[in-house]
Amino acid sequence: MPVNTITYWMGIVFAFLFSISSHAFELDSSKFRINGFGSLGLTKADNELIASRNNVNQKGIFDEWSSRLDSNLGLQLNYDPTDKLHFALQLVAEERSNNSLNRSVHWAYLGYDVTPSLELRLGRTGPNAFLLSDYRKVGYAQLWTHAPLEFYGQFSSDYGDGISLIHKTPLAGGVLRTQTWFNQSKLIYNSNGEEIPLELKPTYGITATWENDAWTYNASFVNVRFLDKKEDYKAFQQLLTASLPIWPQINPLIDEVTLDNTQAHYYGFGVAYNKNDWTIQTELSLTETESSIINRTRSAYVLIGHRFGTLTPYMVAAIAKNDDVDVPAYNVNPFLPDATNAAALALQQGTQQFADSFHKDQKTLSLGIRWDIEPKVALKAQWERTWVDPHGGTLLMQPEPLDNTETIDRFTLKVDFLY
C-alpha cells in the first residue's frame, strides 16, 4: 500500500475516532486539543531582475509589495484516546506551488508510547533535521519574520510519509532527544515559474538534540534519494551524447544533468543559547549530492537578539554557497563545417547556463525588531539586504542569467499570533 494512501487513511481514522469517541463535542478536554497559529505579513522587495522569496517552493516577488510570502494559517488537532496513543493532525494554508489539500496536511500520524521514554510514530510527520525543526511555519515561535532563505529556503519539503522513532533520556544535566525516521516525500522546486516536481524516496535520517535551561545543541544526518519523473532531461542527455564525437570532454557530465536516482546527504549542526534575555543561535550545514552539477552546498546563519521588556531587537547574517561548475570548453574544429562548430558552441554555452542555474552564492544581513504586544501576539519589522554573486541566485528567482552581483533590499512587516 503506498505511504500516501496510509497517510490518507490516517486522516480518516483520526476523524472517525474523533467522531465516535463518546460524543464528539463532549470529549474530555485533557484528551483533545485544538491549537492554531497564523501570520499576516506584508513584504516589499526592490529588484526587477531577481525575485525574493522564503523558500524554493514559492513564486518570488520582484519590485513590489506582497502578502504572499509571509502569511499563513495553521490548525493543529491533538487527540490522546489513551495514555499511550496519540493522534495528531496539522493543516497549514499558505502560498505554495501546486497547492492542494494534500500538500496542506503537514501532519497526520498515530503515535504510540512503547515505553515512557520511547514513542513510535506512523503516518505523516514534519521534517526533523533542523534546530527550528518543523515549527519554522510558526512565526510566533521565532524571533525573525522568516527563517533565512540561505539555510532553510533550500529545504522546501514540509512533510514525509513513513515511520519515526523518538527516544528521550536525561543526560549530563539536560535531556537528550533522538529521532530516527524512514519516509518519503515530494518537493516542488519553482524555477522561474516552472514547477519541477521531485520525489524524495526514500528519506532516512537521525537527529539528536540535547538541551538544558540555556543551551540547545542539535546534530543531524539525512540521506535522500531523488526521483525526477520528468522526461525533459532525457532529450538534453541525447543531445549531449550525440555531440560526443566532436566534444568528448562532456562525457563525464552527461549522466549528471538530472537528479533522477541521485543520492544526497545532509549534515547539520546547530547551537542555541536562550537565557538572561539573550537569544543567540547558529546553524551550519553541508549538503552533498552525487551530481557534480548540483554539488556541495555549504550554508550557515547566526542570529543574535536581546530582549528589553516587550521589545527584542535582533540581527541575522546568513550565507549559502556551492562550487562553480565549469563545463568543458568546446574546441573549434577547422575541419568541420561552420554550422556544426556554431551548434556545438551553442550547446556548450547552453550546458554552462544549465549548470549555472543550480549555482548558489548569496549572503544576507537582516536587522529587525519583535514587539510582544499581547501574550499570544507579536508584531515584527525586518529589513534585509541580500547580495547575490553572478549566477549565484538559484535560491531566488532569476528569469535571465545574471553576470553581475545584484543586491535586493527587502522590508517585512508582520503580525504573528497563536489561537
Binding site: P116, T125, R177, L418
Partner: protein, 140 residues
C-alpha cells in the same frame, strides 16, 4: 501625619503586591516520591522529560494564562515571561515534541484533579494546601 500614614499604607500595599505569594508544587498523597528537584520540575513543566526515576510518567497542570500564579511560577522557575513561555511552547507544540500542560482555571480545581489522579502534579499558593494533597517542593 494622616498623609504620612496614607503614604505608608500605599507603600506597604505596593511592597505586599511585589512580594510574590509562595507557590508550592503539589501531588497526590499516593504519589510515591518524597520530593522533586527544581531541575526535575523544570524538565516536567518545560516539556523536556516527565519520567521519574521510578518509571512514573508525571502529568503537569498549569494555571490560567492570565493568572498571577502562572506568571510568578514561570518567572521563579525559569526566569521567563509569559510571552517567552508561550513562544517556547509554540515551538514544542507545533513541532510535535510535546503538548503544553493542561490549563486548569482555579487552584481548587488543581487540588481536585490532583486528588483524583496519582500521576498528576500542579502548583498552587501555599496557603491553599490541604491534607488531600502533599507538597512535593516549594518554588523559590
Amino acid at each position: 501625619m494622616k498623609m504620612l500614614s496614607t503614604l505608608l499604607f500605599i507603600v506597604m500595599i505596593s511592597v505586599a503586591d511585589s512580594v510574590d505569594a509562595e507557590l508550592v508544587v503539589i501531588g497526590n498523597n499516593d504519589l510515591e516520591i518524597r520530593g522533586l528537584t527544581k531541575k526535575q520540575i523544570i524538565d516536567i513543566y518545560m516539556g523536556r522529560y516527565s519520567v521519574l526515576p521510578n518509571g512514573l510518567k508525571v502529568i503537569p497542570l498549569d494555571q490560567d494564562i492570565d493568572s498571577s500564579a502562572r506568571k510568578h511560577f514561570y518567572a521563579k522557575l525559569v526566569d521567563k515571561s509569559i510571552s517567552e513561555i508561550n513562544a517556547y511552547w509554540a515551538r514544542l507544540l507545533f513541532s510535535g515534541r510535546a503538548t503544553p500542560p493542561r490549563v486548569v482555571k482555579t487552584e481548587k480545581a488543581v487540588i481536585e484533579i490532583v486528588t483524583k489522579n496519582a500521576s498528576v502534579i500542579g502548583y498552587i499558593d501555599s496557603s491553599m494546601v490541604t491534607d488531600k494533597v502533599k507538597v512535593i517542593t516549594r518554588v523559590e
